[in-house]
Symmetry: C2
């Protein structure tokens, strides 16, 4: 290893892959925050670097990239590591869910650098957890997460997963429901789900969760494709057969009511 | 509202439902940390209160409960709120995933207190994100989370979901694979998955992720029920058709290799 890189570098810099959470940096873990601050180079999609701008310092090298430049981001991280720099490679949400973790390891593998470049993964709060928190408790039980983006996954696979998710009575979480180029997929997905799920099944649409422009709509399955707020920054959660909505919240019953007495107990009287 | 509780209390205390993350408190978000510290009463499963012991102060009232006392925990939270106390109701991981969020809202609903008791939900890092981070990038694409506990969910529903998860070629995350009383479910689940998934499909078993007694085994689907470390504190991830294992990591290919050139580029030469 000593001869690599013209002998200028005795060892490679560590790459820490960090999930920055749903948006607001108050949702970053202490561990993630410290790792971002400690890195000499911070690499990521430009929007995510902007989102965490308040925790970066002037002394850190920032390498913002465009959307779809994921390979370039990972290659940049590896190159900086080979130069001996410590790197923070950041993804929104959790970096292991549709984030940079997998691609980085694939690229390290292709370069025969597995085990040579030190890599650490720091988990983050996925967007869907913040979406759930914004509307109450729509998940609570078994669930699926499906991205409608067919950029990397064949559309037939996505359709197969939508049918499987409906067959399993999972709570269904939809990522990437729409983009500039993909405008019809959400309606196609809805129609697949409507083959076996009631049209009145509760659903929630949340745009830009935890960010200043957050917007929430609680609706039903048949209407999930009828709101302007749906974009790449939007997450949709469709309930399972035990999901209901009250004046304020979307709630999926876990099943306590079937097993225990959940009748009214007049707690206020007891006090 | 003014007359409630003998008029002693002008308004109810806020209940903040907090996901404390996978274990180590360095994975708590700043927002979660501050909410826990600010609460007058901290309520939760005794093990979770112990886990976050280092961030609690002597001035806070702690109400630890046993496992299966979930209803009592929520009722205690509501009672303390009615007494005007601010409450932190804590769950491991994210409180919206098999946590206290749903049950609390159900109980508030039954007591006709929806909108009267102020509630806030603060998301946390789910255990499976930390498990993923511990072994590389086993998720990366669409996935399902299924609990094998049939305490609240009928076993037929769990079997249906396992079959659906396999049919959809999801990455499959299994929670609660085994308990003191449930010893056979993991083998039954494995056999259901083996009906349509190859026995050599990569899988990982992680016990007590981020905690001092963390243990990890990378194995294959046919062997997931053959390790002593499997318990209630264990998470299992079974890859999809694009998952592979190298010397160090478990990686699910997202699909970049189908669309872009991921061949070796000799980055070290370029430097």
């Amino acid at each position: 290893m000593m001869e690599l890189n013209g002998g200028q570098c005795e060892y490679f810099g560590k790459i820490t892959v960090i999930g920055t959470g749903p948006g607001d940096t108050e949702h970053l873990s202490k561990k993630a925050l410290e790792a971002v601050k400690k890195a000499e180079v911070v690499i990521g999609y430009s929007s995510y670097l902007k989102q965490i701008g308040d925790i970066l310092s002037v002394n850190q090298e920032k390498m913002p990239f465009n959307m779809k430049d994921e390979i370039k981001r990972c290659e940049a991280a590896v190159k900086k590591s080979l130069e001996g720099k410590t790197v923070a490679l950041v993804s929104g949400g959790d970096a292991g869910i549709y984030g940079m973790s997998g691609l980085l390891l694939e690229i390290i593998d292709k370069e025969s650098l597995t085990g040579k470049v030190p890599v650490e993964f720091i988990p983050g709060i996925p967007a869907f957890c913040a979406v759930s928190a914004a509307v109450g408790a729509p998940i609570t039980n078994d669930f699926c997460v499906i991205s409608l983006s067919n950029l990397l996954t064949p559309w037939e696979d996505i359709e197969k997963r939508l049918r499987a998710a409906a067959a399993g009575d999972f709570v269904i979480i939809i990522y990437n429901p729409k983009s500039m180029k993909r405008k019809e997929e959400l309606t196609i997905a809805k129609n697949i789900l409507l083959e076996s799920i009631d049209k009145n099944r509760p659903a929630v649409i949340v745009k830009a969760v935890t960010r200043p422009d957050e917007e929430t709509v609680i609706t039903t399955l048949e209407n999930i494709d009828k709101f302007d707020i749906v974009s790449m920054n939007t997450t949709i959660i469709i309930g399972n057969g035990n999901t209901y909505v009250n004046d304020l919240y979307m709630i999926t019953r876990r099943g306590y009511g079937n097993k225990y007495d959940l009748s009214k107990k007049d707690m206020m009287e007891e006090n």
